[in-house]
């Protein structure tokens, strides 16, 4: 076989190897992208269907023009949560703040997180979840975790992926302790509800 023919075969083989590898990577990226677009929409819906009972008589909360959503940890949403800024929760705009788990050691940041109304906990080690839960314990804050371990650590809502679809579990005991009233619609649609010990 001539040298040119050999070269052509090598080129064709390289292209055949590189194209599927790239396609697979893109597929994985787009699946993750889609997952967090859907999770962002879930977070918005959860905020729509809960009542911050503990803040009902809080004049500061009633007069506020926004509700604050804090994302704690390595932000998996990218800029996907920005679309929430155009939406409203009970006539209040949505403000989004980002923190890392190491911010939980900082007193100022701790205060800021405790002033938020919803906290999204990104996937983390159990110790980080425990630290966050210690901070949020019995505070009127809706806590949502990126994985199902989160509700065992005392969080209120935990996401999971089941059969390729996003689903969620609810710890209604934690919700009650935090004075958060979760709409029955959410409880009915949850995969698992932990309630009344």
């Amino acid at each position: 076989m001539s040298k040119t023919a050999n070269n052509i075969i090598i080129w064709i083989l390289s292209i055949l190897i590189v194209i599927p590898a790239n396609a697979q990577q893109e597929l994985a990226e787009s699946a993750r992208d889609k997952e967090y677009k859907v999770k962002a929409a879930f977070v918005y819906n959860f905020m729509k269907f809960v009542e911050w009972e503990g803040l009902k008589d809080d004049k500061g909360f009633q007069e506020r023009k926004d509700v604050i959503l804090a994302v704690v940890g390595s932000n998996p949403f990218g800029n996907k949560l920005d679309s929430l800024k155009s939406k409203k929760i009970k006539d209040k705009a949505i403000t989004i703040k980002y923190y890392s788990y190491s911010d939980l050691d900082d007193n100022e940041k701790q205060k800021e997180i405790m002033e938020c109304h919803t906290v999204f906990a990104c996937t983390a080690a159990t110790a980080d979840y425990a630290l966050l839960q210690k901070l949020l314990d019995k505070k009127c804050i809706l806590s949502i975790g990126d994985d199902r371990k989160f509700i065992s650590a005392g969080g209120i809502i935990g996401f999971d992926i089941d059969n390729g679809k996003v689903c969620f579990d609810v710890n209604n005991n934690s919700a009650k302790e935090s004075d958060i009233k979760i709409n029955t619609k959410i409880l009915k649609l949850a995969r698992k509800v932990i309630k009344d010990k």
Partner: protein, 91 residues
Amino acid sequence: MRKLDNKLKIFLIVGIVSLCVLVTLVSKYDDVFGHNRLPDNNERNNMIENAYLDMSIEQLLEVVVDETTSAAMSRESLCKLMNDSCVDIII
């Protein structure tokens, strides 16, 4: 014969270049005038994000975010359902 080959080459090159110019002009026309313009990636992403935000929880629960897992799970459920005969199905 060699002269004919050269003419054919020139004809092909001119043809391909003209086609490229035509395609570029048409796409520019669409970009500028928005005539049948398809949304770019950013616009498409925004549209999809907004579509998800307008969905109910019931609808969101039905969105398949990981088609590979979903397909694998479907196969798994099918196997469970058909028990031992799953090998025959795969074949």
